[in-house]
Structure formats: C-alpha cells, structure tokens
Amino acid sequence: MSRRLVAVAVLLGLWTLAWAGAGQMEFILPPPWRVAAALWDNRELLAEHGAITLAEILLGLGCGAGLGVLAALSLALWRPAALWLWPLFVATQALPVFAIAPLLVLWLGYGMASKVAMAALIIFFPVASAFYDGLRRTDPDLLDLARTMNAPPLAVLRHLRVPAALPGLASGLKVGAAVAPIGAVVGEWVGSSAGLGFLMLHANARLQVPLMFAALFLLAAMAILLHAAIAAGLRRALPWVHDTLDQPHARD
C-alpha cells in the first residue's frame, strides 16, 4: 500500500514539475489541483457520462466474453469450425477497430448499441483465442485416461477440457477488461451524444482541458478497478491456479 502511495506522490510531483517547466499553461497541461477541482466541480456531469461509458464497457465485456467463450467451444467441438472460422476470426483482428467504428455507428446508430458492439468486438478475440488455446492444450495423458474410462466426448469437454482451460480463459478476460474501455471510447469519439469519450471531445473543443483530464482520470480509474475486480473474482473462482511469481522462491 505504501508503495502505491509513493508511486502516486512521485507521479503528481513529476506532473507539477512538467506543468511548471512548460510555462504554467493550463490549456496545455493543467496542474493536478486544477484537475482535482474540475473533478469535484463537474461531479454530476462526470457521473452521468461515466455511468453511460461504464454501462457500455460492462455490456461489451459481457457480450464479447460470452461470444468468445461460445466461439472457442464450437471451435473445440466441431472440426470444420476450427478449419473455416478460425482463420476468419484471425483476419478480423487485422482490421483496426478504429477503421470499422464509423461503419458500426452508421449501422447501429449514435446510441449505446454501436459502442457496446465496438467494445464486444475488441474483447471477443483475446477471450476466444486464450480459451481456445487452453481447450486445445489438455494433457494428452489425461485424455488417454478418460478414454480407458469410456468417457463420452461431451463429458471430456465438460469435466476435463473446460476446467483445464479456465486459467487461459482468465488471462483472456483480464486482457479483455483492460482493452474494453478503448472500444467504448473509440465508439463515442466517432459519433455519440453521451459518455466520457463524448465529454472529452466536447471539453477539448472548448479548451476545457482540466475537464478533459478529469474525464480521462475517471476512465482510467474505471478500467483499473474493473481489471482488479475481475482478477480478484478469478482468483476466488480458480483457487487451484497458483501464481508462482508470487511465491517467495520464485525469483531464485
């Protein structure tokens, strides 16, 4: 905890130095206390827009993760899916989400749907890819054992492959949680009337730079909390997965 406080203090110090060194120009880089004041003064506005962005992120995370899990399962269960669909999934990752954002806004409108779709799209691949990798890497000796036990394929998937792949899925979800805000904010930038991305664009145009920083701060805080909550939830759900870097002898 004290390590984190020191890190925050150092960061604030450097920030203040940068502000002072750059000629104290508030419309380029406001000092930390101006941002804090902007956070407080605009708390209702920020809360209102923050709630919308948070809803987009959570819905996107839910949809993207759900679809990712379904995709990985169908790839693992059905060989033609792996042969035909997987290259397609990989190819969609070559398209930058920034490039399709205007299309999604065109198709799904200025409301929340296009942002949720954007976030879902960006989350889908890390989740599907990590889970699918896990499903493919079940210990072959374990599969041999299951065969001598006359286990039906669906039971092998349910009782062996899926649980063994959960640590992989967990990594995918953590990456997904970290990138989800990107999808939502990009969507808001391209076309919207609400959300933190919209607020930032608006504030930027009016040179309300402290408000912009306040929105940015809120967005970062949401992303960090979301990531921490998911990591903690996964630790609780998967007690048998040990973080060997956290053990005292890990760095011998």
């Binding site: 036990m149 006359n150 007690p239 997965v241």
Partner: protein
Amino acid sequence: MPDSALIAAPPAVRVRGAHVRLGRATVFDDLAFSAEAGRFTGILGPSGVGKTTLLKLIAGLLPADGAFIGDERGNRLSGCIAWMAQKDLLLPWLTVAENVRLGARLRGEPGGRDKARALLAAVGLEGRADDRPDTLSGGQRQRVALARTLMEDRPVVLMDEPFSAVDPLTRIGLQDLAARMLAGRTVVFVTHDPLEALRLGHAVFVLSGAPATARPIPLPADAWPRAADAPGVLAAQAEILRALAS
C-alpha cells in the same frame, strides 16, 4: 461394466502380430506378447524401445492395425481395462475423493462416494478425502491414483512406470500396496527399474531391439511380492542390469 465374476476370473492378455511405425522407425514388427490371467507381468527395457507403446496398444489407445489384442478366448479387452499412468493425473480442481470417482463422473454415473472413501482409507489416506490434491505429497498422490484405478474395478490393470516419480523408500511402500490391492487381477506394468520388475513380476519380459521383441527372463524363487533385499532378487537385479547394458 465388468462384474465381480470377471474380477474373480480375470482374462489373460494376448497380443499377436502387432505392427507399429512411429515416423520412419519401426517400433514393432509382428510382435507377440502375452500376460497370464490374474498375474503381474512386468515389461522392462531401455527408453524408447516401445514399452509405453505396447501398453497403449493393449489399452486400445493406439490403432491395432490388424493385430490381435484380446484375451485367451479371442475376446476384445474393451471395457475391461483400468489405466494408471506415470503421472498421477489428479485434477487440481477436484477434491481427492472426487478424483477417485473420476471415471463415474465422466460416465455420468451417480453414487460410489462411500466406495471412494473406503478405497482412500484402504490406501492409507483416511481423512484426506475432502482435501485438494495439491496438499498431498508425491507418494500420497500416487496412492490416490491407485485408489482411482481400483475404483474402476476392472479385471485388467495397465500401469506405465507408476512409481517412477517418488523416492526409493516411498516406492517400495507403494509397490507393497499395489501388490496387496491389485492381487488377483491381470496386471501388466512397465518399468525401467529392474528391482520393481523383480519385486512385483510373476513374469518379467525384457523388450529390446528395433523392431522390438519381448524376451522372458528367469525370476528368483522368493515368495511374491519379493522383498527388495532378498538375495535372489539382488543377484537377479545385477544380472538384468548387465543384460540391459549389453
């Protein structure tokens, strides 16, 4: 599902005309192998000679490719075999007792919880049924794997270097346990440890050459399971080590 009558009169294991190629290497060319009913048959041999391949062939884990694999009456062995691998293969997300019940869980069969606990007690793990496998030592984990094998209650048990990952003292204890718990079944076990083969084998074959052939070796007359320090066992061990080295 094998019934207790099958356990009372377990089948023998016969392999005839086995051909296996792995890549460009011919592992078996017309290999014949047999293990007598209700007896422990050991397979010794250098690494890479095909010991595990032979065991997998018997277990039906490799395609037979025209070979006959069955019992002395010409029946197939499917459904008669329990498998115990070199690794304990305990699932970290299940408790010890749930690991013992793995086969029933996979086949969707209810019940068997009391039997699983009884088997755990029989292998000396009373009171550990609800623990996670990662709280157990290597020897204890192998005991759970043995209990899981027994839970399947199959007349034929195939073991692939089952005790190679534990220290020598623990290994001797596990060998005694396996001899006691599996006695009366047809057991085929692979090992690279001549002492293990001599202690547990009613018959022992050395697998050697490429393509490999199985050659029986003479065994000391000591009472089974043979003591690790019996003079006959020690002499035979030296003999086997010489034969394996040449």
